[in-house]
C-alpha cells in the first residue's frame, strides 16, 4: 500500500488550539497521563472550572509544572526525564504501584502521540522498525487507561496520512484509541470508520477525506 503524499498540505490548527480542545474534553476531577512531547501542552489549557490530576508513570501523582532554574531537583523528574514539580495533595510511589494505577484502569485519560492510527483504533507510536526499539510505558498506558486520546499532526512530515485503514508499523496496542485530535479535525473511532466530531473551519470534509486513508463521515 503506497501512501499518498501531500506536500502542499493545508495549514491546520496550531498545537495550542489542539491542546485546548483536549483540555476542554477532560472532565473535572480526572486522573490524566500526558505523553511526552505535544501532549504535555494540554495541561497549559485547563480552565479554572476544573481540577485535573496528572500522573507520570515514573511514580508521581499530582505532577506540577516545570520548576524555575534554581528549583530543579534531578530526583523529581517526569516520564520524559525532565525536571518537574509536585502539587499539594500529590504523592510518590514505586513503579509497580504506578503501573497498577495504569493497568488497573484508574487513569481516566491518557493522551499520546501517534505515527499511525487505524480505523479500528489500533495505534502505532513506538517503533519505525529501524534503530533501537524502545517502548517505555506506552503499551501499558494504551491497554490500561479508561480512555486513550491521540494528539498528532494529521499528516507525517513527509505529507503522508497518519489515519489509515490498517497500520503498517509495529503496533503499540490493538483497538485501543477512542478519539484522535489532529490539526485538521477531532475524530472518534467508531465501527463505521473515522467519525468527524469537529473539522477545522478552513477545511472541507472532501479535503479531509483526501488526506485520510479510510472512510471519514459526520
Amino acid at each position: 500500500m503506497t501512501k499518498k503524499n501531500f506536500t502542499n498540505a493545508e495549514k491546520g490548527w496550531e498545537r495550542g488550539v489542539i491542546a485546548s480542545k483536549i483540555a476542554n474534553d477532560l472532565p473535572h476531577a480526572s486522573y490524566v497521563n500526558l505523553g511526552i512531547g505535544m501532549p504535555e501542552l494540554v495541561s497549559q489549557h485547563i480552565k479554572d472550572d476544573r481540577e485535573i490530576i496528572y500522573h507520570s508513570e515514573n511514580g508521581l501523582l499530582g505532577m506540577g509544572p516545570t520548576p524555575n532554574e534554581n528549583e530543579i531537583d534531578f530526583d523529581l523528574i517526569n516520564a520524559g526525564k525532565k525536571p518537574v514539580t509536585i502539587l499539594p495533595g500529590g504523592s510518590f510511589c514505586h513503579h509497580a504501584d504506578s503501573f497498577s494505577m495504569i493497568r488497573g484502569g484508574h487513569i481516566d485519560y491518557c493522551v499520546l502521540g501517534a505515527m499511525e492510527v487505524s480505523m479500528n483504533g489500533d495505534l502505532a507510536n513506538w517503533s519505525t522498525g529501524k534503530g533501537i526499539p524502545a517502548v517505555g510505558g506506552a503499551m501499558d498506558l494504551v491497554a490500561g487507561a479508561k480512555n486513550v486520546f491521540v494528539m498528532t499532526q494529521h499528516l507525517t512530515k513527509e505529507g503522508k496520512p497518519k489515519l489509515v485503514e490498517k497500520c503498517t508499523l509495529p503496533l503499540t496496542g490493538s483497538g485501543v484509541v477512542s478519539r484522535v485530535y489532529t490539526d485538521y479535525a477531532v475524530i472518534d473511532i467508531t465501527k463505521e470508520g473515522f467519525k468527524i466530531v469537529e473539522i477545522n473551519e478552513n477545511l472541507s470534509i472532501e479535503y479531509l477525506q483526501t488526506v485520510t486513508e479510510g472512510r471519514v463521515y459526520q
Binding site: I53, I86, P88, G89, S91, F92, S100, G104, H106
Partner: protein, 237 residues
C-alpha cells in the same frame, strides 16, 4: 473548581450501594474495621450482599451485626472461625450463608491483582490441598503452581487514620492490613477516617493509599472500638 471527596453524612457515602453488590470490608479482626460504615450499611438495608474480608465479624457490632441482619448471602474470607463470631456461626450452621475459604495471602494477592489490572496469577499456596481442587495447574521451573483469579468488588468499606480532600490516606499500625489493596480493587472505595487534614499537610513521601484509589471520605473522629463495644454488650441496630 477543586476536587473534594469529603462527605458529611454516612448515607451519602453509601448512596450507590445496591442489592446483590459485592463489598470488600477492610480490617484484620477489629484493627482497621470500618464499623461506622458497616452500621451505615445496616441502616441502608441493601440485601444479598457478597462480603470479601479476612474475617466474618464478632458479636453484634460492625460486620457481625451486618451478618446478623441477614443482609449477606456469601462471605469470601480466610478465617471465618472466631469465639465471638456468633452471627456467622449461627447462619452457617443453618445453611443460610455461603462461605468461600481463601488462603490469606492468596486473598490479599487476588485483591491486589484486581486493583492492578492482573486478571489472574499463579501461586504455590494451596497446591496439593482441597482448596486447589478445580484450579488450573502449571509447572514453572519444576515446581507446581495453581492459577488464581482477581477478586473485584463494587464497593470497599475502609477505615483509615488520616486523609486530605483528595483521599490521600495513611493508616495506623496494623490497622493498615487489607485496607490499601481493597481501595485499589473496588469500583468505589468509601473511607471513614479519624482525621482530615489540608492537602499541603500531606507528605507526598508517606502517602500509603494515593487519592486515585479513593471515591468518598467521611470523618469519624472517635470510632467504636469493637472489643470494648462487645464487652459493653453493644448490639447494632
Amino acid at each position: 473548581m477543586q476536587i473534594n471527596k469529603i462527605k458529611t453524612e454516612i448515607a451519602e457515602m453509601l448512596s450507590d450501594v445496591f442489592d446483590g453488590a459485592t463489598i470488600m470490608v477492610g480490617g484484620f479482626g477489629e484493627a482497621g474495621s470500618p464499623i461506622e460504615l458497616l452500621h451505615g450499611l445496616i441502616d441502608h438495608g441493601a440485601k444479598d450482599l457478597t462480603i470479601i474480608a479476612n474475617n466474618s465479624g464478632n458479636g453484634r457490632v460492625g460486620l457481625g451485626a451486618l451478618i446478623g441482619q441477614k443482609q449477606v448471602k456469601k462471605v469470601i474470607c480466610s478465617f471465618a472461625r472466631s469465639a465471638k463470631g456468633i452471627t456467622f456461626q449461627e447462619l452457617y450452621n443453618k445453611g443460610e450463608i455461603e462461605l468461600e475459604v481463601v488462603p490469606q495471602g492468596t486473598l490479599a494477592e487476588r485483591i491486589r491483582a484486581a486493583g492492578s489490572g492482573i486478571p489472574a496469577f499463579y501461586t504455590a499456596a494451596a497446591v496439593g490441598t482441597p482448596l486447589a481442587i478445580g484450579k488450573e495447574e502449571k509447572i514453572f521451573n519444576g515446581k507446581k503452581y495453581i492459577l488464581e483469579e482477581a477478586l473485584n468488588a463494587d464497593f470497599a468499606l475502609i477505615k483509615a487514620d488520616v486523609s486530605d480532600r483528595y483521599g490521600n490516606l495513611t493508616f495506623k499500625k496494623t490497622a493498615r492490613n487489607f485496607n490499601p489493596i481493597m481501595c485499589m480493587a473496588a469500583k468505589q472505595s468509601l473511607i471513614q477516617v479519624r482525621k482530615l487534614i489540608e492537602p499541603h499537610q500531606t507528605n507526598p513521601e508517606n502517602v500509603i493509599t494515593p487519592g486515585i484509589f479513593v471515591k468518598k471520605i467521611i470523618e469519624i473522629d472517635n470510632p467504636i472500638i469493637e472489643t470494648n463495644a462487645i464487652e459493653e454488650g453493644m448490639i447494632y441496630p
